[in-house]
Structures are given as C-alpha cells and as structure tokens.
Symmetry: C2
C-alpha cells in the first residue's frame, strides 16, 4: 500500500503514513484535496501554514504510456488561489517505485535558516546541507546533485528565483538526461519551496519495485491499445514528434490569435524565423535532436534538444508558449536568443510564460527596447545579484512588473499572465483563462483544440456559441487527466478516438482493482474542480474574479478586429457545481 511521506521543514523530521482519507486519489485530485483539507485558505502562501504536495497520478508507476507526470500543489503566492502544476521528468516514476503516493512539505524554518537538500531513498529520508549549491543556477546544481547522488537519481529543485521567494519562481525537475529542463512552472510554487528553505529534493529509487496490478493481463491489453491510440493520431503520432509544440507558431499566427507586443496584435511579422518548422530545421542542421520524451514511457516525444551553431546543447522542453512569450509578445526575432532565454528561465528557476510576459511589460514600460533579446537575458540574470531589484521585479511576474513600471495594459487573470493564445481571437481559451481555478492557464481547458485545431469538435474561434460548454467539458476532462498522471497531450488522441476513455478506465481498473467507468472518469475531474473551487471561495475569490481585463473588451485585436465580449454571468456557465 502506497504511503504519504510528510516532511517537516522546520525541525527536519519526517514520517510515512497511511493514505487514510487520501487513499484512491492521485495527481491533481490528491494535491487539490489535500491543500483544501490542510492549508487554511486565507493564510499567506509563504507562511508556515502553506504546504507543498507532490503526488503521483493514479496510473503513474505503471507501464501505461505517458503516465509519468508529477503533480505539485500548494496555495499559490502568485495568484492566492489553489494551484496545481505538473511536470515531466522521471521524478514521478521514481517516487512510485519507492511506493510513495505523495510527499508533503510542511511548516517552515526561520526566514534566514540555511537551505537544505532532502534525499529520499528506500532507506528513508536524510537532510543535507545545501550550501554548495545555494545561489547557483539549476544547471550547475544538477551537476552537483548527479555527482553526489548518482546519474540515476532524479531531482526536484529551485533556482535563485525560488530561493528569493519570487512569485514567478518555478520548481524544476530533471529530465531523463539529468538536465533541469522540466518544470512545474506556473503559479510561483518555487517561492513556496524557497520559503521552506529547501533547495532540492533528490529521489533515488535503487532497490525500489515496480508497481503491482490487480489484473495484470487486463492491464497489458489496455495499455497496448493505449499506445496504439497515441501513435495513430496525427497530433500525438506526427505533429508533436515532428516539430514539438512550436508547431503551433504558424497555426496560431495564421488564425490571428498569436499575441504580439503585449497583446496589441494577433499576428507577428517575423513568424517564419521562430516557427516550429524553423526550429526543427535548425536542430537537424546543427545535429541536435528533434524528438525526445520528457519521461520514461513517453511515446509522444514532443521535446527536443536544441543546440547552438557548434552543436552544443542549449535547452530542451522548449515549448511553443516560451517561443511565443519571448518571440511574439516581446518581439524578439532571433530564435537562438529565445532558446537562450528559455535556458535562462530553467536555470534561474522561473516560469517561462510569466517571465517572458514580464519582459514584454518591461519593454512596454521602457525599461529595455522592444525585441532586445540580449538585454532581456541580461535583465533576467540580475536575479543572481541579491542586491539588485530589477531582477526581483521581473521574477515576480506580470502584475508585479506592470505595477512597478506603471503599465496599464495587464493581460492577467487572478494575477497570472495569459499564455500564447489571444482570447479575443480564440474565445474558447478565453473562457478557460477566465474561469479556471488556476488563473489564466491554457492547460486547464485547452479549447484551442476545437477553436483552431479542430480536434474533438469544431467551434468558431471568433464566436461565442459553444465556447462555454466546450471549455467546461475540457476543464473537467483535464482535471481527470491530471489526476491520472497522464500527459495532457494525450487529450488530442482521446478526444478523437471512440474507445480511448474506456481504455484509460480499463487501465485504472486493472491497476487498482476497482471498477472505474467513463462516468467515474468525468466524476474525478468534477470532484477535483469542486475541491479547487471550494478553496478559492474560502480564499475570497468570487465570480467577479472570473473575467478578463477590461482593456480586452475595448481594444480590437487585428486582423479580425475582435474584442472580448463574454459577460461575467455567461462565464459562470463554465464552472462546475
């Protein structure tokens, strides 16, 4: 029976406990339920009362393809809402092999206490001095951790941004090659880890065991079909493996929903210089890798190994949203500069979306020139200087930077900046931005599928019809996918494949020896969202918070010249219960 590992970060004690009321839960379902139960909604996110939960999904640890996402939950210091952010890397699978369902970081030491590293093995937990890597970037830190704990150990760690408790700080995870290029990026969870004075958590699963199955044969059959489903869909089988997520650059730009210059326009002139096709061409020419999985068991392989002109590794997990934030919204034309900025965010431990958009705000406020990638890179690294304050501002996200620089066009919802799809020209994603429990977040209900990609349905992106229903259905399905530990990208195939939901249910049933039906599939998402909503309501959020900023209702977005036109009442239809 899996255990919950509770770690007290103040007195550096730990204990394993039975899951109790959390039995049968996983991933986002577990993190959100635990945060709702155990974190006072009105507490400060950096206080001792906040907790960080890292949970494996219901299918994690199994042989199911793409089931190794680790869910991280807490009260967010960026938004004040509940937050779940999940990441690739092998951390999840290693926890699973140690039979750890979830790890909970509790309490906090004095604000000036030394940072420590937490090492988890089959023998238990040890706390070690983090002094050798305090203040260091995650790339150097990972080198140290792999030297010390072996190349197979996996890490969850923060960069200098998290150490400084900056509200755009991410938690980085090592990828299968030991690079800190995967992230639970959004919502400033790195700041919560920093407030608890934890620099890194290393999991070494040596001596651990594969998970068992209630019905191994049934699982085998289902998981084989599952892999077929993913391989045979054009998006998960061809598009993503071929060009990575940056395949979206041309598609979204063509649709006029590619925000440029701090959301002033919907198309970008230099799109051919930053497209997925261009990136793939460069990587191929330079001898990098155009396909990589972010965790063992991934068959979508949307990650890449971006290299410089000499063929040296620069970054991986170089997502569409990152390319957009720096390339589209900040008008940086040079894809090598954008790749360097992606690496800088990973190295400093910053969410690329929040940070890329904060750079756009700095440009809007006249701090650095539009499109200046070199200045942007220099600005980010000012975070390393404890006595520098521009770095702190950029590392604190879009709302913060806008306040510091007096910028009045602020594309955020509940304090989190909007990702790479303009909600005026793809209204379904706008419904998600407005109503998700997480603040503006495309991954919470990716209506780009139906609006632009025509996967799982066809909804006019510029119209209002069907958008609320589409977003709601996606938000529910997504919450389930996140609870299962599956990569969200499986949704492309699931939405278009008749038997996919049943196959997933079969895998869950066969793993846990329970009856898990397509009804339960939806129910899991709904109960997760209800937990999150209950937390947010207790934290003071109301329907008035479920709306986009006023400027989007007034400023027309070219080329379609559209505004945001959903009323707050209409948007409430996307909420569960």
């Amino acid at each position: 029976m899996s255990k919950i590992l509770r770690i007290n970060t103040r007195d550096r004690s730990y204990r394993f406990e039975e899951p109790g009321k959390y039995a049968g839960m996983g991933g986002r379902g577990l993190t959100s339920h635990l945060v709702l139960n155990e974190v006072p909604a009105d507490t400060h996110a950096l206080s001792a009362d906040n907790k960080i939960v890292a949970a494996i999904g219901l299918l994690s640890g199994t042989a199911a393809a793409n089931s190794g996402r680790i869910s991280v939950g807490a009260k967010s210091p960026l938004t004040g809402t509940i937050k779940e952010s999940n990441s690739g890397g092998n951390f999840c699978q290693k926890l699973a092999r140690l039979d750890i369902l979830a790890m909970v970081l509790e309490d906090k030491p004095a604000d000036d206490a030394d940072f420590c590293n937490i090492i988890i093995t089959k023998d238990g937990v040890v706390f070690e001095d983090a002094a050798p890597i305090v203040g260091k970037g995650t790339y150097d830190s990972m080198d140290y951790l792999m030297d010390k704990y072996g190349k197979k150990a996996c890490s969850m760690l923060i960069g200098p941004a998290g150490e400084a408790c900056l509200t755009a700080a991410s938690i980085q995870f090592s990828d299968p090659w030991g690079r800190p290029a995967r992230a639970a990026g959004r919502g400033g969870l790195g700041a919560v880890m920093g407030s608890k004075r934890i620099k890194a958590i290393v999991v070494d699963d040596a001596g651990g065991e594969r998970c068992g199955y209630a019905d191994e044969e049934k699982f085998k059959v289902a998981s084989k079909r599952w892999a077929e489903i993913l391989r045979s869909h054009p998006v998960t089988g061809e598009g993503l493996p071929g060009f990575g997520t940056a395949v979206l650059v041309n598609i979204v730009n063509e649709a006029g929903a590619f925000p440029t210059k701090n959301f002033r326009g919907g198309r970008c002139d230099h799109v051919s210089e930053i497209s997925g096709e261009k990136i793939a061409e460069l990587i191929t020419k330079r001898g990098g890798k155009t396909k990589e999985g972010c965790h063992a068991g991934c068959i979508i392989q949307c990650s890449q190994n971006y290299v410089d002109e000499k063929g040296e590794y620069v970054t991986s997990g170089f997502e569409y949203e990152t390319v957009w934030a720096f390339g589209g919204n900040s008008l940086i034309k040079d894809i090598d500069q954008i790749a360097a900025l992606d690496r800088a965010c990973d190295d400093l431990g910053l969410d690329t979306i929040e940070t890329g958009n904060a750079v756009a705000i700095a440009m809007d406020g006249g701090v650095i020139p539009w499109g200046d990638g070199v200045a942007a890179h220099k600005m980010l690294y000012r975070i390393l200087d404890k006595n520098d304050y521009l770095g702190k501002i950029i590392g604190s996200g879009v709302d913060f930077a806008a306040q510091a620089f007096g910028v009045d066009r602020v594309p955020t919802v509940k304090g989190q900046s909007m990702p790479a799809y303009d909600p005026r020209a793809a209204k379904g994603i706008g419904v998600t931005y407005a109503t998700t429990t997480m603040g503006a977040d495309h991954t919470a209900g990716y209506a780009i599928c139906q609006n632009l990609l025509k996967v799982g349905g066809d909804v006019n992106p510029l119209g209002k019809q069907g958008q609320v229903e589409t977003s709601k259905a996606l938000q529910i399905a997504t919450a389930t996918v996140d609870a299962l530990g599956l990569c969200l990208f499986v949704a492309f195939a699931v939405l278009d494949t008749a038997d996919a939901a049943q196959v997933i249910c079969d895998m869950v049933s066969a793993r846990h020896g329970i009856e898990f039906t397509p009804d339960d599939f939806g129910g899991l998402g709904i109960s997760t969202l209800k937990d999150e909503l209950a937390f947010n309501r207790a934290a003071g959020f109301t329907k008035e918070d479920d709306q986009l900023p006023a400027f989007m209702m007034k400023e027309k977005l070219a080329p379609h010249n559209v505004v945001w036109d959903f009323t707050t009442e209409e948007l409430q239809g996307a909420l569960v219960g």
Copy 2:
C-alpha cells in the same frame, strides 16, 4: 452657481459645466458619486478611463472653522477600490473663490507625453510645459511655482513617485506658507495624476469672490457657536494644539496598541524619544512653531513647524501616524531622522503611512537593518534615479515590497497598509480597517475615540462588544464630515457636544438655503458609503475582502496577548445597506 471644471489631459482642452446631477453635493460625497457614475469599475486605475476628481466640501469657502479640506477621488491603483483622500492647504478655499465646485481630470495622453502644469485663474485654464520641474521634488517644485505664479497661488502637485506612477504616490498640496507639506496621501492617487502626465495644478483666485449665504445672519450665529465648540473641547482646544497629533504616541503605546517591528509587538521601548511631548519640547527649544493651521480658517492648529538644531525648517504636518510608521514600526529612534523621513516622503510625493510601513517590510526582509533611519532615507531617495528599482519597490507600498522581499507577515487590507493602531489591541479600529470601502484606513471610522480616548463613548478596546456598531456609526459620520469639507478632527468635539450636529446642519442650511437636518447629516454619510460600496462591488470586491490578514488571528500581540477574532460574518454588520 458653482461649476464643474472638466479638463481633458489628452488634448489639453477644458470646459466648465453646470453641476447637473452633482448639484447639492460636495467633498467626498461628490467625488465618490462621480467616480461611481463615470469610471468603469473594472478599468485599470492608470488607464484613460480613470478620472481624478478634486471637490470642495458643502461648507468649503464659508467662514465655518475648519471647513477647507479638499477631497480627491479616483479609482485607486493601490487597492483597486474607489478612493477618497482629503487634504488641508488653501487649495480648496481658492477653488471655492473661483466658484469651482469640482475639477475633473479626464482621459490621458501617451505614456511618454511631456508633463504639463495646469494653471487655473478667473480667466480660465492654461496648460504650461512642466519641464523645469519634471523629476524634481515637491519642495523645489513649489519654489518654482511660487516664483512663477506668485506666493498666493496654491498648488496640487506630484513628486517623482507620482511621475513614475508608483502606487504609494501621494498628491501634495501647498500649505498656507507655500510648503508642499499637506497631502491627499493614501491610495496612490499621485500615480493616477502621473499617468495623466500632470505635474502640478496651480490655482490663483485673484479676482475671485467670497461665497454667498442664503441666510447670512443664521450662518453667523451658527458658525460662532461652531468655533466655540471646537475651542472648548479638551482634544480640539488643548491636546491637538499643544502637542499635535503625536500626542497619541504615549497614549497608544500605553494602551499596548502601538505596533512595533512590523506589527510584532504593541509597545515600544524608545517611546519617550519620539513622543508628542518630546517633539513639542524640541521644537520649543529650537525656536520652531508648535502650532499651525493647515488651512485658512483652522482653529485647531494641530500642525507644527519642526526645525532642526539650527532652527531651520525641516517639515510640517508631521503626524502621529508618520512618527509611528518610522519610529515604532520601523524602530527608528532618532526623531530628527524621522522628521527627515517625513520631509522626504512629502518631497518625493509618497504616502508616509504606506512608505513607512514599506520601510519596515524592507527591514523585515533584510534589505536594510531595523531602526536604520539613515539607510531608510537613502533608500527612499533612490526613487529619483529612474534606473533604480529598489526605489520603485519601496514607492509601491507594503503589499508590493512584501512580495518583492518574500515577507509573509503583511499588515494590509485590500492592498492598503494598516496605520498606527494595532487592531488586535483596539478592535474597533480593526473593524474599520476591515470594512471601510478604502482599504485599511484609520480616518474612515476612528474608533480609537471610544476604544482608547474615551471620547464619544467608552468601548473596551480588547473586547468585541459594541465595536461593530461603533465603527459603523463612525464610518457614516466620517463620510458626512468628509462631504462637508470639514477637518475630521472636529469629530472629537462633535461626539462630545450635544448641539454640535445641529449647529453643523444650521451652517449647511444657511449656506445653501436648504433644509438640512441631523437626519440628513446621517443620510449624507450613508448615501456616500453606498456609492462607494457599489463601486467596489462592481470592481469585484466582496465580503471576503473585508477581513484582516490571517497572521493577526494567530499571533498574539503583547502586552495584552490578544489576537484578532472577528469573523467575516460579524464584520459585515459594519457595512451600510
């Protein structure tokens, strides 16, 4: 008939118009009604859609003692709520002599447009280049304005903080001696003025006329009695003229409600070095002035002329809350340093409460040492350097500084920092902090009267009984006082004098030729608060926002070892309607 002067800050045009639906309104009653009617609640406070309204009170321009407060209203960039902040100085009386009921600054030019000054005379309005004083402190700016427009002209102006649109920026007003020492301090209204690229507004009332009276004889009788009431009350007649508002240092400290070290304790060891008695002793010894009125017609004379060891002027309007923010909450012991910090805030155009508390947050976050007044002063002046970012952080208030420095004890309500009375040890003021439409604000319902001073009643400061009712009654009365243009300090005498409300009503009736009864007195406050509440509701604020930060419910405050223990439901009883 008084006019409303509307100024378009984008195209630099203006027009006078009849008051129309604003006829019969004044002060905060007018500013709040106009902001509710004309500013979209969901707009960004620095956008073209926000407006600044400066309105005279219903008794302003008359011979009534202490009737010269100017009310400034807008949507606040600090809190996102509606905001009214009023100030002394002669600006109000000069507007009245030009028969201007209110001035409304509308729209805004490009973010990089040149700043201009607006000059208002009986001949109309002219716009002049502000280049000679852009980037300058308000003291130098005032010298320039008085040289150019004469010593009798009055100014409303911003400092470098307002120019940079920092959210703790004040609007300063010249006092009767031409010093920029009076302020509409709270809520960041200076940033709104800065966003409209207005550096200063000068009013020259030469050729203007005294106001008329519907019944001059009745007014004379009432206003004579009014002056007697103020002169005969121990607080308005002796305490305030004798020691200024800093007379409260010893009283509040003795009560254990004097917050120290970012609200960690309720008493201060070095209180004898920063008390009102000490300040009065020093001023007397050095040849300064212990009594001054902040505007013509003031008979309370609570202001002072604080001088240095050589007898040179340092600052005036040196309030208790300022002495506390730097002396108590930031632990600075040297009263000369505190006076210099007060002057620095006026000079840079910063709210002393928000800024003093942001300094405490910087100390809490390890940026500068606790109690280091010299370092604090240097830190504030970093605002002058456009390329410095620590200055921008401090100038953006407590919430902002806490986020930048990772501080988790944040004594704010609706984004505005708490003033000089710990709500755990004076619970009535806590009710006001939590429930006023303005964010934490002692002036919105000064329950210190009944809790500690035993003026207007006697309520146990450590208990809950009677606090909600007391705060509510005070919030209503205060909104009326603010609508009349009266100084809030008249309340001490009004609360204790049986015929005071009737006398005020007689003055209003005699001035305007209307029947204004004690019922109307309460009704005016209630309708004003209802307007403000309606704006805040439309802006998304709900009852969940009407609460103090969670740490105050947990951390006991010495010496009484009390926590904050009102539920959100209980607090709702303090709201009107």
